[in-house]
Symmetry: C2
Subunit: 328 residues, 2 copies
């Protein structure tokens, strides 16, 4: 069994490969080639500490696997990471455990790659201006992935923690793949005003911008709302959007506060959900059809993608001699 550490993952995979695998996983899921049972969630103690287990079973590759992700806000006080994650891969031929893959960075790559796929299919054509709200760990892989599929005209960033926004802007400056200006905004509304692609990567429980600043034609990647009480997107934008797309419909109605809060308030019904990104990738549903549409990609987490990128990390690590072999 191969143990692939966080550092091993960084050595083994590139964002281009991750985007390719994620787009393929969307496609294969839409074609019925990946079985994804309902997630198992645990409220670990009476605090806000949760653990989630996501399983995916491939028919298009000889693997099945399980991702564990723990989200422990109380770790902040202990000086420990608040999010930890790993993925265990098994051979679909023999049931043998093949690899244990450390999955914090891999999850961020996967989430960035999913936003890139959504942006490719749902954002306006041509070069785009981009706003990133929330400049924590996810912001880097979001930027890295999205600028892999779209040429940027401008990047705006905003964070309630100004020093973090500044640090991220420096990171972005050093990781540009073309020449575009980077602006640190003084408010979330200023950040998104008239912008083509908006990325929200916060853990907010209240919408982080006002609807009136969202321009016609904008595409939003909402990646932070993965519990029923989290909300990043203005409710009026959810009401007004032309197409709301998710990674997995079933899970969306269990966990995505962005949609569940306005649903419970009676402001939207379930028909607001246009469909799954996989069906757009597979050509079963049209992506963006008109210049002025407002589109939202609501990311809730989807084991099919996680296991697909873990398979990539395993294949590349095996090929390159990365990782630690341990006999169980």
């Amino acid at each position: 069994m191969l143990f692939i550490s966080e550092n091993d993952v960084r050595k083994a995979v590139s964002i281009a490969e991750v985007i390719e695998r994620v787009e393929n996983a969307f496609l294969h899921y839409s074609r019925g080639l990946i079985q994804v049972p309902s997630r198992v969630t645990l409220r670990v103690r009476d605090e806000n500490n949760d653990a989630i287990f996501l399983v995916a079973n491939y028919r298009s590759m000889p693997f099945y696997g399980i991702k564990e992700a723990s989200s422990f806000p109380t770790n902040m006080l202990k000086g420990k990471p608040t999010v930890m994650s790993n993925i265990q891969l098994y051979s679909a031929d023999t049931g043998e455990p093949l690899a244990l893959v450390s999955a914090v960075y891999l999850t961020a790559l996967k989430t960035g790659a999913a936003s890139a796929v959504a942006t490719k299919h749902l954002a306006i054509q041509g070069n785009v201006s981009i706003a990133i709200i929330g400049t924590g760990v996810q912001a880097r892989t979001q930027l890295e992935a999205v600028q892999h599929v779209k040429k940027l005209k401008e990047l705006r960033v905003y964070d309630i923690d100004k020093s973090r926004a500044k640090k991220f802007a420096e990171y972005a400056e050093n990781n540009k793949n073309s020449n575009y200006p980077i602006i640190i905004s003084t408010s979330a509304n200023e950040c998104i005003e008239n912008v083509d692609v908006i990325i929200t990567a916060t853990t907010s429980t209240i919408p982080v911008f006002d609807d009136e600043y969202v321009k016609r034609g904008a595409h939003i990647n909402a990646i932070g709302s993965f519990t029923p009480d989290m909300q990043e997107i203005a409710e009026q934008t959810v009401v007004r959007a032309d197409k709301i797309v998710t990674d997995n419909q079933e899970e969306t109605w269990k966990v995505a506060g962005d949609l569940l809060v306005p649903l419970k308030a009676g402001k939207i019904d379930r028909t607001r959900l246009y469909g799954e990104l996989g069906d757009i990738v597979a050509g079963k549903l049209p992506g963006r059809e008109r210049e002025e549409e407002i589109t939202i990609y609501e990311s809730v987490g989807f084991g099919a993608l996680d296991i697909a990128v873990a398979v990539l990390a395993y294949e590349k690590s095996s090929l390159l001699g990365i990782g630690t072999e341990v006999n169980l």
Copy 2:
């Protein structure tokens, strides 16, 4: 993170400790101190190859965990083990992965220990005669565990594979903890006739004995029927039994062929199930009440027990310096 191999488990834990932990897990589950979400099962391909994921979340210990078990009959042709299993343990304080425990032998120990606990509470008082039908890997730990809680008067063994039965009888002879005769029976009915404690440890899909050979007062540990089409116990015995007890009621009605087959045939209804062993251990339900009762312990697999014994393996390994530390 500590990796505990099959050999490490053998070094780290004793059957006495495993029985103690299993009985405690039954007790704590009955008291509502262990959360056990529904299992996730995968039919991995179109063959009979399955993977099962069992989660348990303790409130009585600072751990949560997940067991993966793969059952791949097609491995027989490949010269690989047909059953593989491991358990991943996490800290309930921080969400950190603490250990990956190889769990094939541990599962056999756990299953033996559960039979021992059932036998303690449900078999007749005093010394007992024991019949073991099916002398594969589970039979050894069944014998080891049950003779830890009951003094034996006689041991009878039966297997459709006579050489395997002979080998097991030799093993039993070398692992007696008191002086009792060991008999290799020529049929399953001869094996169980007039015996106090019957253990079935087969993967049979048809009942392995006839009801008329089951004496009044017998206790049966049925450990092999863990899919809806598996059956070890004569249907008439299921109809006639005074108390049918399981590890977990909810899972029983999903997977235990011993009860599901007669249920579907209309021979029993759900009230045939007396209750859970945990409630007997906790004193909420009486165990055996009369000398002549026929009792059945139907084992379907229950994450609460698996995680409990993995915690034991982890604690003992840490204490004794057993296992391999790997940084993720």
